[in-house]
């Protein structure tokens, strides 16, 4: 399995996606800072919630790009026929691909939150946007929330796979990711998102995992033309 994952990474040039992810993080941090010059946010609570929302949406969309690259494109260009003629278990091949997508989303979503919040608090020391004191307790709480958030983002990122696999379409995958993540994370004020009702992201995560299973389930008996 490890070997399969490594081959997938080598084959698809993930480096570009990783670079893009870091650029996105940098842009988000910059935007956050610039916004505060215009009209400062009131408390760290706002910063946390804003960061969570933006990173989740960003990386679910990134995940859909990866899904396209790793799965949809292989089916569309028929290189999957080559892949399936090798003496390797087809299910494992697909699982390796899904693991990469989920892991990428989780890791970068979490990493983004860490970098942005620490970056912002660092900048805040000079610009004093927020008067509040950043306590260790706040950081710790936020860290746990961040992990849960990133985990659910990882699972939810699989949902666009269903839409993409129907006609092997990259646009369908990415658009569905945009729609899902936006609806899930749109804010009314700085308080309420659909995500705040914890059951909703949980249910969607379960849905994402289910979709992952369905995509793999019949692959050994299904005709690949």
């Amino acid at each position: 399995m490890l070997k399969l994952t490594r081959l997938e990474l080598k084959k698809n040039g993930i480096g570009g996606n990783i670079g893009g992810a870091f650029i996105a993080i940098f842009i988000i941090l910059t935007l956050l800072t610039v916004v505060n010059f215009e009209e400062p946010l009131l408390s760290y609570k706002d910063i946390f919630s804003l960061t969570n929302v933006i990173t989740t949406v960003t990386f679910i969309i990134f995940a859909s790009v990866l899904l396209s690259k790793l799965i949809i494109d292989e089916f569309k260009s028929k290189t999957i026929t080559v892949l399936f003629m090798y003496p390797v278990n087809r299910k494992k091949v697909l699982i390796a691909k899904l693991i990469i997508v989920v892991a990428f989303t989780f890791i970068f979503s979490l990493l983004a939150k860490i970098i942005i919040i620490s970056g912002f608090s660092f900048i805040n020391q000079y610009t004093h946007f927020i008067q509040e004191e950043l306590t260790f307790e706040m950081i710790r709480n936020q860290f746990f929330i961040g992990i849960v958030n990133s985990l659910t983002a990882g699972c939810i990122s699989l949902i666009p796979l269903y839409f993409g696999m129907r006609k092997y379409s990259t646009p369908a995958t990415i658009v569905s990711a945009i729609i899902i993540s936006s609806i899930l994370n749109s804010q009314f004020g700085t308080e309420f998102t659909l995500s705040s009702i914890i059951y909703i992201p949980l249910a969607l995560s379960a849905l994402g995992v289910l979709i992952g299973f369905i995509s793999i389930r019949n692959i050994e008996t299904k005709d690949i033309v």
Partner: protein, 306 residues
């Protein structure tokens, strides 16, 4: 005689339409099996069935003595193939694609990539991405990928498609070499009968999903009728001379100028008789009916081909 591939009542239907019907084919170890048939006969479908890309509606396939099931993977490692047209990872180079192939196959031999590229005569392509390759180059790379691990069974769907005449000869020699020196069994489908005629040991003819005939090339050659192809200015006169003066009756008049003579007669006697009787001989050829004739007669003997 050990069979490397054997299908029993192999059937595949799509939405009620049988595209492959009750095919019982057998390929002996070490032989080159030519797969012939008109377009849409089912050759590519059968090849996909053999490589587990699609699953049979009915019937069995046995490869290397073991039944092929949806979860048999080991047999795939001993097969090299090109189905329809070769597909690659376009953003990688030729070498990158071959390296990937070897990794997935579990084949580790540093020199084999250079060797394979050499064998198919694909040079000067070091960093070029496959998406910039021409059709012929892709075809050669496909062949290289199929043979690189020296698999026991090669399944090739129109391998000389898109190759230049020099390439066709090179690949023909390559297949002969692989068969003789490495004992690799080759299943090759092609529309170019002349090529198949030169390298195949056994022929299988498919039409409308059914295997019409499976016969060895030796048998075809034995039953080949040799004839003399005569081009004259007046076939009526020539035919008259042949039956009355030379007592040659087994002839076929094709049109105003062409006659085929199936009876044995020396060319000397023939030319003498014709010249004496004032028949102009345009050309005189000794021929034997080719695989093309055999193939066409087989198809028209049954249904009209699609």
């Amino acid at each position: 005689m050990s069979y490397i591939l054997k299908t029993t009542q192999l059937t595949k239907s799509y939405k009620g339409l049988e595209v492959v019907s009750n095919v019982n084919m057998s390929i002996k170890k070490g032989e080159i099996y030519g797969f012939l048939g008109p377009n849409g006969a089912g050759k590519t479908t059968i090849m996909r069935l053999i490589t587990n890309l699609i699953k049979p509606t009915y019937g069995d396939i046995e490869i290397f003595g073991q039944k092929l099931t949806p979860s048999s993977y080991d047999q795939l490692g001993r097969i090299g193939s090109i189905i329809e047209y070769p597909v690659f990872y376009d953003k990688l180079s030729a070498r990158g694609n071959l390296e990937l192939h070897c990794e997935y196959m579990g084949y580790y031999n540093n020199k084999s990539i250079d060797e394979a590229l050499e064998l198919v005569n694909l040079r000067q392509i070091n960093q070029t991405k496959v998406k910039d390759f021409s059709l012929g180059m892709k075809q050669r790379l496909g062949i290289a990928r199929a043979i690189i691990t020296k698999p026991e069974l090669l399944i090739l769907d129109e391998p000389i498609n898109g190759l230049d005449p020099v390439g066709i000869k090179e690949i023909r020699d390559l297949f002969n070499m692989l068969s003789k020196e490495y004992g690799i069994t080759i299943l090759i489908s092609s529309h170019i009968l002349a090529e198949i005629e030169q390298i195949a040991d056994t022929i299988g003819v498919i039409n409308q999903g059914k295997l019409i005939k499976e016969v060895s090339m030796d048998e075809i050659r034995e039953n080949n009728t040799a004839y003399i192809e005569l081009v004259v200015n007046d076939t009526k006169k020539a035919a008259f001379i042949l039956s009355n003066k030379l007592n040659v009756n087994n002839i076929r008049v094709l049109d105003n100028h062409n006659i085929r003579i199936y009876d044995a007669i020396s060319q000397n006697d023939l030319t003498k008789a014709l010249v004496i009787n004032d028949v102009t001989i345009e050309s005189l050829h000794k021929k034997s009916s080719s695989l093309e004739d055999y193939f066409l007669s087989l198809l028209h003997g049954g249904d009209i081909s699609a």
